[in-house]
C-alpha cells in the first residue's frame, strides 16, 4: 500500500479546471517535487490536501485512510503539516509563540486547567517549549526567539514557517515554494534542511518548487503539471528532458 495517494483529484472553478483528474502517490520517506509553469495547479493541489478547498471530485488517502472529507483542522492532527507560498505567520506574535502554535495538535489541557495554570499545564508548557527549542536549534533560529514576526526579514520568516510546521512533529510535510524570495545562500541552506528532514527526522516531503537547481538537488522524484494535468513523472533528469515539459516551459 502506498503512504499517501491522490486519486483522480479535480478542482473546478466554474469552467476553469485548476486541477484536472490528477493522480499520484508518495512513498514513505521520499522527497517528491511538483513543478510546472504559473497557474498549473500546484498550489491548488496543496490547498486540496490541506482541505482549504473541497475537491470537485476524487479522493485523497493518507496511511490508507480516506481524508477527503476530514475538516481542515484535523489534517494537522493526522500528521500532515504545511507551509504557505506567501507566508502565513502570526505577524503580531513572537517567533516563540508562533512555534508553540505549531505544537497545538499535541495540547491536551482543558480550558479550566489553563485558567488556573495548574501544575499539569505548566509541565505541558515546558515539554512543548523543549520540543520547540529542538526545532529552533535544528534550523539555527536562536537569535529570533523573542522577536516579533512583523519585524523580521522575508528570508527568516520563510525558515520560521518551516520551523512552525516541524513543531507539529509531522509525518508528511507540504512545502509550498520553500525557496521563493530567498537569496542563493539561503536557498542552499534550505536544500540542506530539506535533505535533513528526510534523513535525520524521517519526514516525507511533498514540495512545490520553481527553482530547478533546488529540485535537482533534493528530490527523489518529480511530477510536472500543466493546465491542471500531470504531463510527466519520474526522476528529476527524466522529467526535465521530457518533451512535453520542455514544450510547457518554452512553448512548442
Amino acid at each position: 500500500m502506498t503512504y499517501f495517494r491522490a486519486e483522480d483529484l479535480s478542482l473546478h472553478f466554474g469552467g476553469l479546471k485548476a486541477v484536472d483528474a490528477v493522480s499520484f502517490a508518495v512513498e514513505k520517506g521520499e522527497i517528491l517535487s511538483i513543478i510546472g509553469p504559473n497557474g498549473a495547479g500546484k498550489s491548488s493541489i496543496f490547498n486540496l490536501i490541506s482541505r482549504i478547498y473541497p475537491p470537485t471530485s476524487g479522493k485523497i488517502y493518507f496511511e490508507d485512510q480516506d481524508i477527503t472529507q476530514q475538516p481542515a483542522y484535523e489534517i494537522a492532527g493526522l500528521g500532515i503539516a504545511r507551509t504557505f507560498q506567501n507566508i502565513e505567520l502570526f505577524e503580531n506574535a513572537t517567533m516563540l509563540s508562533n512555534l508553540l502554535v505549531g505544537r497545538h495538535r499535541h495540547s491536551t489541557t482543558q480550558l479550566w486547567q489553563e485558567l488556573l495554570f495548574l501544575p499539569s499545564v505548566r509541565a505541558h508548557e515546558k515539554a512543548h517549549r523543549r520540543r520547540v527549542e529542538q526545532v529552533i536549534e535544528f534550523l539555527d533560529l536562536e537569535v529570533y526567539r523573542d522577536k516579533l514576526i512583523s519585524g523580521l526579514p522575508y528570508g527568516v520568516r520563510k525558515v520560521i514557517e518551516l520551523a512552525r510546521a516541524l513543531c507539529s512533529e509531522p509525518k508528511l510535510i507540504l512545502l509550498d515554494e520553500p525557496s521563493s524570495g530567498l537569496n542563493v545562500e539561503e536557498t542552499g541552506d534550505m536544500s540542506f534542511w530539506i535533505r535533513d528532514l528526510k534523513t535525520d527526522l524521517g519526514i516525507t516531503v511533498l514540495m512545490v518548487e520553481h527553482d530547478m537547481s533546488l529540485v535537482n538537488r533534493v528530490s527523489d522524484r518529480v511530477i510536472a503539471l500543466n493546465y491542471g494535468k500531470v504531463i510527466a513523472m519520474g526522476s528529476p533528469s527524466e522529467v526535465q528532458r521530457h518533451p512535453d515539459v520542455v514544450a510547457a516551459y518554452l512553448g512548442a
Binding site: N47, F84, V101, R122
Partner: protein, 383 residues
C-alpha cells in the same frame, strides 16, 4: 537597561520576568489597598467604576484584541449579567450563587451569539453584534413579568456571609478590585497556554491556524463565551453599584464606551484595558466641569479682552448651550476615537512603552523605533 539572562524554560513562562515587576505591582497593590481609607468616598466610588469597566475591558480585549472578533454588543452582555443578578436576588438567592449564575448564563448566551458570528468578519460582525444588543435591549423593555420593563429593577444591598456590603463601602471596592485582579490573572494564564495562543493565531491568520490543527470555529465560540462570561460577572457588580437598573442604561453608547476602553488603552495588552477604563471614567467629571465652569471662564476671558458686559453674558449663554447640548458626550467619544486612531494607534499603553523606552535608551532613543512598516506579502486569497 536591564538584560534578562534566561537559564530555564520557566523564564519564558513566568508572569513576572524579573524582580522589578514584583516591586512595581507590590507598590501598586499596597496603594490600592489603602486607597479607600485615605481617599474621599467620591474617588473611591469612581475607582469601583474603573474596576468594573476594566473587567469588561479585559473581557472585550480577549474577544477583540486577542481573537480579532469585533463586538459592539457588550452592553447587552453586561445587561444580561445585571438582570440575572437582580432577578435572582428577588428570590433570596445568596450572592455567590447569583453572581456565578450571572456569569455562566451570560457565557452561554455569548456562545450562542458566537455560532452565527462564525461566518461573519469585520464590519459584518460588528453589525451582527449591534443587532444582538438591540434585541436584548428590546427584550428587557418588553418582558415586563421578569424585567419590569422600563420601570427598571431595584437591586438590594449585597448580603455576603451574613454581612451587608453597601455599594459605597470599602468592602465593595475590595470585592470589585479582587474580581478584576482574578480576571487579569486568569486571562494572563490563558494567554500563556494553548487556548490563548490559538486565539492570537486566529486573529493573525485563520488559514494558518486551521492548518496548524486549530478548530477555528470552536475557539471563536470559546472566545465569545469567555468574553461574555467575564462581562456578565461585571454586570452583576455593576447592578449592585448602581442599585437600580433599567433598559436605557445598556444602550449602544455603553458598548461604544467599552470599545473606547480597549482602543484608548491600547489593543493587544491587558494594561490597555485598565488604562482605558481609568481614562473613560475620568471623562464624566470632565464633562461636568465643561457644563459648570467652562461657560463662565469663557465669558471672563471675553470680558478681559474688552467685550462688554452684555456681549460677555451672551457668549456665556452660548457656551453653556453648547456644553449642555444633547449628544455632546457621543460627539466627544467620536472625536477621542478618531484622534487616537490617527495619532496614537497603540493607545495609552503604547505611549507608556515609548516613554519607558525613551528613558531606558536615553540619549539614543529613535522615533522610528515604533514606526509601523507596511509589508505587502500577505495573501488575501485563502481567507
Amino acid at each position: 537597561m536591564r538584560f534578562l539572562f534566561k537559564t530555564d524554560y520557566e523564564d519564558d513562562i513566568r508572569l513576572m520576568p524579573h524582580s522589578g515587576y514584583l516591586v512595581t505591582y507590590g507598590v501598586l497593590l499596597a496603594l490600592l489597598a489603602i486607597a479607600p481609607f485615605v481617599l474621599s468616598s467620591y474617588i473611591v466610588s469612581q475607582l469601583v467604576f474603573v474596576c468594573i469597566y476594566a473587567t469588561v475591558g479585559v473581557g472585550l480585549m480577549i474577544l477583540t484584541g486577542f481573537t480579532g472578533q469585533a463586538s459592539l454588543g457588550h452592553a447587552a452582555f453586561l445587561a444580561i449579567g445585571a438582570y440575572t443578578a437582580a432577578f435572582l436576588q428577588q428570590y433570596n438567592v445568596p450572592f455567590p450563587v447569583y453572581f456565578l449564575a450571572a456569569g455562566l448564563l451570560t457565557g452561554v448566551v455569548g456562545a450562542l451569539v458566537g455560532f452565527p458570528a462564525l461566518r461573519l468578519q469585520g464590519i459584518y460582525l460588528v453589525i451582527a453584534t449591534i443587532s444582538f444588543a438591540f434585541i436584548v435591549e428590546e427584550i428587557l423593555a418588553r418582558w415586563e413579568s421578569v424585567t419590569h420593563g422600563n420601570e427598571g429593577m431595584r437591586v438590594k444591598t449585597m448580603q455576603l456571609f451574613g454581612m451587608a456590603i453597601s455599594r459605597d463601602s470599602p468592602s465593595f471596592y475590595f470585592l470589585c478590585l479582587g474580581f478584576l485582579i482574578l480576571t487579569i490573572v486568569g486571562t494572563l494564564n490563558l494567554l500563556r497556554s494553548p487556548t490563548g495562543r490559538a486565539f492570537v493565531a486566529i486573529r493573525d491568520s485563520e488559514t494558518a491556524a486551521r492548518s496548524m490543527g486549530i478548530n477555528v470555529s470552536l475557539y471563536k465560540v470559546k472566545s465569545f463565551a469567555i468574553s461574555a462570561a467575564i462581562t456578565g460577572f461585571a454586570g452583576c457588580l455593576f447592578a449592585h453599584k448602581l442599585s437600580f437598573i433599567s433598559p436605557e442604561m445598556f444602550t449602544l453608547l455603553l458598548s461604544i464606551e467599552f470599545i473606547i476602553v480597549i482602543l484608548i488603552g491600547g489593543s493587544f495588552s491587558l494594561h490597555g484595558a485598565v488604562l482605558g477604563a481609568i481614562f473613560l471614567v475620568m471623562i464624566d467629571p470632565l464633562l461636568t466641569y465643561l457644563k459648570d465652569d467652562l461657560p463662565g471662564m469663557i465669558a471672563g476671558v471675553a470680558s478681559t479682552f474688552g467685550a462688554g458686559k452684555e456681549s460677555a453674558s451672551q457668549i456665556q449663554d452660548k457656551a453653556a448651550a453648547i456644553a449642555s447640548a444633547n449628544g455632546l458626550k457621543g460627539a466627544i467619544y467620536g472625536l477621542i476615537i478618531v484622534l487616537f486612531v490617527l495619532f496614537e494607534p497603540l493607545g495609552l499603553y503604547g505611549r507608556w512603552l515609548k516613554i519607558k523606552l525613551f528613558f531606558q535608551l536615553f540619549p539614543l532613543y529613535k522615533r522610528a523605533t515604533f514606526k509601523r512598516q507596511k509589508i505587502y506579502v500577505k495573501s488575501e486569497r485563502n481567507r
